[in-house]
C-alpha cells in the first residue's frame, strides 16, 4: 500500500515536474489520494478533514524537487505530521502513591480486555512488582475462569470471587485482599459494555470512585471503524480515561482508530497488543503506527525484532550468501532457530512493505510445532545434501523421511518451500536487507 500511495502520488506529481512550487491547485489530486488512504485505514472522517487541511498548508509552497520523487516528498510530510499527531514519545504506566496501585481496564465487548489484563500483569511483574488480578465481569459466561486460567500461568495473584455477584463489591474485596497479600499493583478487568448502556456505565463509575484507580485504560480493537471516537469519547466523558491500549495489532488492520482516538480524546496510547500469547504486548510507537496507517509496513518493528533475535555476525554471513544465492539448507536450519526466537515467520515477513502480497508466502509459514518437524527433516540429511539440495532424489527423500519420522510428502514440501524461499531471499537482497539495516524507511 505504501508503494501504492507513493506511486500514485508520483504519477500525479510527474505532471508537475518543471513547475517549480506546489500550489493549492496542483496538489489537490494528491490530497485526494491521501484522504482516501486515511479513510480506508479507518481514520475518523473529521480527523481526516482537519489533517488534510494541515498537510495542505505545509505542502503548499514546497519546491518540487526533480531529483527525488515529489510523491515521496509529500508522503514524508504526511508521515511526519501523523507522528506528531500521535504524540512523539511513548508513555509509561503511572502507579501513583497508593499501594496497591489499582489499574482498571475498560472497553467494548470483545475488544480484548481479559487477555490484555494478563499481558499487562506480566509486563508489570517484569518490572519487579507483585501483581494481583481481579475480574469484575460477572456477566459473560466463564469470563472469570478465563482470567484465572491465564493469570495462573504467569504466577500472578488472583482474586477468587466465588459466590459474589456484585462487581463493585468484588473490587472492594479484591483491593483489600491485595493489600493484605502485600501486592503492589492490582489490575481490574471489567466486563465489556456499550458506552450507551447507562446502568453499566454507572457501575464503572461506582467502581472508580471506590478504588480510585491510578490509571483507567481504555482497550480498543485496532480493527474498529469510524465509531471508535464516539465510544472512547463517551467513556472518557463519563469516567475520565488516562490512556489507551490498542489490541489485535498483529492483524492487517491499518489501525486508523489509533490516530483518531489520539486526535479526538488527546490521551496517549500506551501499549499495543500484537498476538494471543501472554508476552505479546509492546510499548506503543507513534512513528510505527504512522507508517502502518499509510500502509508502509512496520519496518522499524521488524528491524528491532531482528536486532534482538539475530546474531549479527551470522546475519552478515547470511547476507553474503544470499547475494551469491548460496543459501543452503544448513543456513535454513540456522535461520529457523532464529526465527523461532523472533515470532511467527508470517508476522515477521508481514511487517515488510509489500511482502503481504507475495504468493509464495502462503506456502511457507511454519508454526512452532511445524518448525520442530522441519528441523528434524533437515537434521536427517547428510551434510552434503544440506549443502546441495539438487542431489536429494527419491530414494534419499525416503531415507530422510524415515530418519525424521515424517513422510516423503513433508520432505517434498520442505524442499519446495526452500526453493521458493531462495527465490524470495534473492528479492530481499535487492536493496531490501541493506536498507533495513540502516533503519530507514524506504523513502
Amino acid at each position: 500500500m505504501f508503494e501504492n500511495l507513493s506511486d500514485k502520488l508520483d504519477v500525479i506529481f510527474r505532471k508537475l515536474k518543471g513547475k517549480g512550487r506546489l500550489d493549492e491547485e496542483n496538489i489537490q489530486s494528491a490530497l485526494r489520494e491521501i484522504r482516501i488512504a486515511l479513510l480506508e485505514a479507518d481514520v475518523n472522517f473529521r480527523v481526516v478533514r482537519d489533517f488534510i487541511e494541515e498537510v495542505k498548508q505545509r505542502a503548499v509552497g514546497q519546491e518540487v524537487i526533480e531529483s527525488i520523487t515529489p510523491g515521496q516528498q509529500v508522503v514524508k510530510i504526511v508521515h511526519e505530521r501523523l507522528i506528531e499527531l500521535m504524540g512523539t514519545t511513548t508513555s509509561q504506566l503511572r502507579f501513583g502513591g497508593r499501594i496497591p496501585a489499582p489499574i482498571m481496564l475498560v472497553g467494548l465487548q470483545g475488544c480484548g480486555k481479559t487477555t490484555t489484563a494478563v499481558k499487562l500483569a506480566r509486563h508489570v511483574a517484569a518490572g519487579n512488582k507483585r501483581v494481583y488480578l481481579v475480574s469484575a465481569d460477572v456477566y459473560r459466561p466463564a469470563a472469570m475462569e478465563q482470567l484465572k486460567v491465564m493469570g495462573e500461568k504467569i504466577g500472578a495473584g488472583i482474586f477468587d470471587a466465588a459466590g459474589l455477584t456484585d462487581p463493585v463489591e468484588i473490587c472492594r474485596l479484591a483491593v483489600e485482599e491485595a493489600r493484605r497479600g502485600g501486592y503492589e499493583v492490582i489490575i481490574v478487568d471489567t466486563a465489556g459494555r456499550l458506552a450507551i448502556d447507562a446502568p453499566m456505565m454507572e457501575e464503572l463509575k461506582k467502581i472508580k470512585s471506590l478504588i480510585i484507580p491510578a490509571e483507567i485504560l481504555f482497550v480498543a480493537d485496532a480493527m474498529t471503524g469510524q465509531d471508535a471516537v464516539n465510544v472512547a469519547g463517551r467513556f472518557d466523558e463519563l469516567l475520565g480515561i488516562d490512556g489507551v491500549i490498542m489490541t489485535k495489532m498483529d492483524g492487517d488492520a491499518r489501525g486508523g482508530a489509533a490516530l483518531s482516538l489520539r486526535a479526538v480524546i488527546g490521551k496517549p496510547i500506551k501499549f499495543a497488543g500484537a498476538g494471543e500469547k501472554i508476552d505479546a504486548l509492546e510499548v506503543f510507537h507513534p512513528e510505527r503506527m504512522a507508517s502502518r496507517i499509510l500502509g508502509m509496513g512496520d519496518v522499524l518493528t521488524l528491524v528491532e525484532k531482528a536486532k534482538e533475535a539475530v546474531d549479527l555476525k551470522q546475519q552478515k554471513e547470511l547476507e553474503k550468501k544470499l547475494r551469491k544465492n548460496e543459501f543452503t539448507l544448513e543456513d535454513l536450519r540456522t535461520q529457523m532457530n532464529q526465527i523461532s526466537k523472533m515470532g511467527p515467520l508470517e508476522d515477521v515477513i508481514g511487517m515488510l512493505p509489500g511482502m503481504k502480497k507475495i504468493k509464495a508466502l502462503k506456502e511457507m509459514k511454519p508454526d512452532e510445532r511445524e518448525l520442530v518437524r522441519l528441523g528434524a527433516i533437515i537434521d536427517s540429511m547428510t551434510p552434503v545434501e544440506r549443502r546441495n539440495y539438487l542431489i536429494i532424489d527419491g530414494s534419499r527423500r525416503k531415507r530422510i523421511a524415515r530418519g525424521s519420522g515424517t513422510t516423503v510428502q513433508e520432505v517434498n514440501t520442505l524442499l519446495k518451500n526452500y526453493v521458493e524461499m531462495r527465490k524470495l531471499m534473492k528479492r530481499f537482497t535487492k536493496g531490501g536487507i541493506k536498507s533495513l539495516r540502516r533503519g530507514n524507511f524506504p523513502f
Binding site: G110, G225, Q226, V231, E276
Partner: protein, 313 residues
C-alpha cells in the same frame, strides 16, 4: 446475566438500539436532506460524511455519490427527497440480493461452523442460534472446538446449558479437529439434528490458524459428505474497513456461506456489510442485537437500511 424474555420485534429492537446512536451523532442523513431545500454541493458533502461515518468506506461512498450526481445531471432526481429515496434504494437493492435467512431442514443432520476473528461474538452467537433452532423444534448439539482460549469450553458449556442443548467437548488444548471428529461420529449414529461448531477466534492473516480451520472442515466433510452445510463468518459491527479483508480471506480459505453481523445494538452502523455484499456477495443471515439468548434476528435488508438512515428521535 439476566435472561428475561421480553420479546420485542426485530424492528423495534434494532430501532431502539440504533436510536441510542442518534443521541451521539449530531445529525442524521434524513435530517440533512430534509433540511436542505435544494440539491447542492453541501448536500453531497454531508451525505458523503454520513456514509463514511457509517463505515460504508471511502471508495464505495464515492461511487454511490457519483451515481447520484449523474442522475441529477440527467434530471432523474429533482429534489433532495427523491435523492434520498434513490440512495436508500440503491443500498437496499444491494443488500436484498444477499438477504438470505437460514432455512434448516428437519429431516437431516445439518452442520454449521462459526468462524471469525477474536472476540467477534462466535460463542455468544452459537449459543443464541442453539436457542433459536431449538425453539423451531430442532435437536441441537454444540461442539466446543475452541480448545485454545482459556475457559472457552467452559463458556460454550454454559451457553449449552442456557439453551438446554447437548455439547460435545474434550479437554482444553485438545486438537480441535479431534473434537470435531468426535462430534461427527456421534452425530452419524443419531437422529437428524443441528450441529454447531464453535471455533477459536483467529485473525485472518494467521495462515497456520487458517490451516487448522481447513483441517476441521476437511474432517467434517470426510466423516459426513456434504458437511459443513454452512460456514458462518461472525463479524463485529464495530469493525471498519478491515472487515473486507476478513471476509475475503476467510472466504478464500474455507469458503464462507453466510454472514452474521453482531453488536448492532451498539452505536456502530455496520455499513461495511453493504460493501461486503456488493464485492463478495456473501449471503447475509443474522444480526446480533445484544447479549441475551434471544438477541439474534434474521438479517433484513429493508430494516437494516432504514436503521442506517433513520431519522432521529
Amino acid at each position: 446475566m439476566e435472561e428475561k424474555n421480553e420479546k420485542k420485534g426485530f424492528f423495534e429492537r434494532l430501532k431502539s438500539g440504533l436510536s441510542k446512536t442518534r443521541k451521539l451523532l449530531m445529525t442524521d442523513v434524513d435530517d440533512i436532506i430534509l433540511g436542505s431545500k435544494q440539491i447542492d454541493q453541501a448536500l453531497f458533502d454531508e451525505l458523503e460524511e454520513r456514509l463514511i461515518v457509517a463505515d460504508v468506506g471511502p471508495s464505495f461512498t464515492a461511487e454511490l455519490i457519483e451515481s447520484l450526481r449523474e442522475k441529477v445531471k440527467r434530471k432523474e432526481l429533482s429534489s433532495p427527497e427523491i435523492l434520498r429515496t434513490a440512495l436508500r434504494e440503491t443500498m437496499r437493492d444491494i443488500l436484498l440480493k444477499n438477504e438470505a435467512p437460514l432455512v434448516i431442514p428437519h429431516d437431516k443432520i445439518y452442520t454449521i461452523m462459526a468462524v471469525g476473528v477474536n472476540g467477534s461474538g462466535k460463542t455468544t452467537t452459537t449459543g443464541k442460534m442453539a436457542h433459536n433452532f431449538k425453539e423451531e423444534g430442532h435437536q441441537v448439539t454444540l461442539v466446543a472446538a475452541d480448545t485454545f482460549r482459556a475457559a472457552a469450553v467452559e463458556q460454550l458449556d454454559l451457553w449449552a446449558k442456557r439453551a438446554g442443548v447437548k455439547i460435545v467437548r474434550q479437554a482444553e488444548n485438545a486438537d480441535p479437529a479431534a473434537v470435531v471428529y468426535d462430534a461427527m461420529r456421534i452425530a452419524r449414529e443419531g437422529k437428524p439434528e443441528v450441529i454447531i461448531v464453535d471455533t477459536a477466534g483467529r485473525l485472518h492473516t494467521k495462515t497456520n490458524l487458517m490451516e487448522e480451520l481447513k483441517k476441521m472442515k476437511r474432517i467434517m466433510e470426510r466423516e459426513m459428505p456434504g458437511a459443513p452445510d454452512e460456514v458462518l463468518l461472525v463479524l463485529d459491527a464495530t469493525t471498519g474497513q478491515n472487515a473486507i479483508a476478513q471476509a475475503r480471506m476467510f472466504q478464500d480459505a474455507i469458503g464462507v456461506t453466510g454472514l452474521i453481523l453482531t453488536k448492532l445494538d451498539g452505536t456502530s452502523k455496520g455499513g461495511v456489510v453493504v460493501r461486503i455484499a456488493k464485492e463478495l456477495g456473501i449471503p447475509l443471515r443474522y444480526i446480533g442485537v445484544g447479549e441475551k439468548i434471544d438477541d439474534l434476528q434474521p438479517f433484513r435488508a429493508e430494516a437494516f437500511v432504514d436503521a442506517l438512515f433513520e431519522t432521529n428521535h
